[in-house]
């Protein structure tokens, strides 16, 4: 029996047909011709009984559980995972799929996640989504080969799995263009120093934009350090203490921007009157609550989650479920304008 004890048999009985017929009409089976009138009778009976199929029985029979596994690192540490989950959940629901979630400790070794993948596989998930905490390259667990899978916010070093990541460079271009459009020509970049895609791509976007506008890149204005609030503070102090200080700062993330705010404040510089700042990440808690609100670049976490389930749905529908060698898909990082950018101060 399914919900509240009503099964397909009850519907059949009530409609005066066989379970076969009920199954056919409720699943819109294209192979079966059922008289419109019978069809209606079945539908009514099902509705009256509040019938819903037992998904476990369906799954057993069809070998499709309707479950999508989402393996996410460090679900609770950042709000990012929440947005991925939300995007995936809503897309899943639209396809009558259910999301099952499992948290993976971020260990020294990507392979450690193989056990987590296994748990999902044993649960008979139809596909697995593998989401990392921040954009990076991974060695996908080998057992991901046995099931349709897509990477979220990560690319597979071996290039076997479909993957979706943020367009870091495009986001940086948007940020810096915004600054240039406001009239800035001396723009500092407070970058991360990890060897991750975001570090390199955002720097590339920074350089590219300046070059495109004929602005020479002053390498003294590009500093890097681990991306924390206090390093953002320190780097900003360094930059802003220069006689030829930049009039704008592009920060690797909102946390570093938060540090930059404090540095400016201590130096008697008011944002955005004396200094323009743009961040990256759009962490609402920081960006919206800083004073003035921080103009920043949003990471497309929701969209990546949604894209991932759309992709596995496609994989599941056509093809054998295994997709062969894609380039990672880049999703837009839109600029979120708040109040931290203005024209540079008159000298």
């Amino acid at each position: 029996m399914s919900v509240r004890g009503v099964g397909i048999k009850d519907v059949a009985e009530r409609a005066g047909v066989s379970v076969t017929t009920v199954s056919h009409v409720l699943n819109d089976n294209p192979h079966a011709r059922v008289a419109p009138e019978t069809r209606a009778r079945v539908r009514d009976a099902a509705a009256e009984l509040g019938y819903g199929p037992n998904r476990m029985a369906q799954a057993l029979r069809t070998n499709r559980s309707g479950l999508i596994g989402l393996l996410s690192e460090e679900i609770a540490t950042t709000p990012h995972a929440g947005r991925i989950i939300l995007g995936a959940q809503e897309a899943a629901r639209a396809h009558d799929l259910t999301l099952v979630i499992i948290n993976a400790e971020r260990g020294p070794d990507d392979l450690a996640h193989a056990a987590d993948v296994q748990v999902l596989i044993e649960r008979q998930v139809d596909a697995v989504l593998y989401a990392t905490m921040y954009h990076r390259q991974v060695h996908a667990p080998p057992n991901l080969d046995h099931v349709p899978a897509v990477l979220i916010d990560a690319t597979d070093r071996a290039g076997r799995l479909p993957a979706v990541v943020p367009d870091e460079r495009g986001g940086a271009v948007a940020a810096v263009t915004h600054l240039v459009d406001a009239g800035h020509t001396r723009i500092g970049f407070i970058n991360n120093d990890d060897d991750v895609p975001a570090t390199h791509e955002r720097l590339a976007g920074f350089r590219e934009t300046l070059a495109r506008h004929g602005i020479a890149v002053d390498d003294d204005l590009v500093l890097q350090a681990p991306s924390e609030v206090h390093t953002g503070y320190e780097l900003a102090r360094t930059l802003l203490s220069r006689p030829d200080r930049p009039t704008a700062l592009f920060c690797y993330n909102d946390r570093m921007a938060m540090g930059a705010y404090r540095a400016a404040n201590e130096l008697g510089l008011e944002v955005p009157r004396d200094l323009s700042v743009v961040g990256f990440d759009n962490q609402e808690l920081i960006a919206a609550n800083l004073h003035p609100g921080l103009t920043t670049v949003a990471l497309p976490h929701y969209e990546m989650g949604a894209w991932a389930v759309e992709t596995v749905v496609r994989l599941l529908e056509d093809g054998d479920g295994t997709d062969h060698r894609h380039d990672p898909v880049l999703l837009d990082c839109p600029l979120i304008v708040r109040g931290s950018v203005a024209a540079p101060p008159q000298p």
Copy 2:
């Protein structure tokens, strides 16, 4: 077949026994006496084959899906949901249960969630966890009566469902006691003005603690407004502009505390030298990144998530799955000491 096509039959064949025996030993069925030697043979065969049971088949047969549904409001808006999910997920995993998540829009009407609950029920979840975005009283959807259910961060107005909520009052007591212990006697309270449990309970904890230490409550020092950064700023300015300004501020949440920091800064007051501040919520992004770090009270989201699954597990094991009329369980809100509290300045 289950994982990679190996089924119980294969194990039976390989071990030279019947499927019954395999089932018995793999499930440690207490009713069945199996020779230790046979037992070992079965275990080995299963291991060699990499056998794992098909959970769908098991579910169909036992009428237990091993799925726990978590219905969470606004998964992505706060980091809180993430911690609930994590707590629930880890507890679930410890019991070999899987968490399926669905996001519920927060509508005008709690009853709107009935449809979401229905989705979960149709998925044959063994129980549902219903988590709200912030501590409040709800009208639980009526279909929650048809399945073991527990409320997280919410209490049922009708009192039918087990519920777990933070000990708001205890948290406030811890916060204010910390301030009093540091030597403060003029303590301001910047409160929320919503009619929610946290507002009332934290105020009660504030009053209770002062009373316990023989400190008269100056009602002029208790202000309320919607709990936002800018109202925190405004209320703090008001309080700190008084000639007999408080030497410490207890803030309804970290966001308001963030506003208080700015007010202090503008007034030339240094935290904690001139002003001590304690917040509530322990939103890492804010509390850990403010300068100095904000001493605050943590909400037990992880613990509530874990408690909820432990509770449904108990409900599922003994009893018919329906539990009758409990008082909500209160979970501890521990004080997180950072750097925003010191002794009051010498006059």
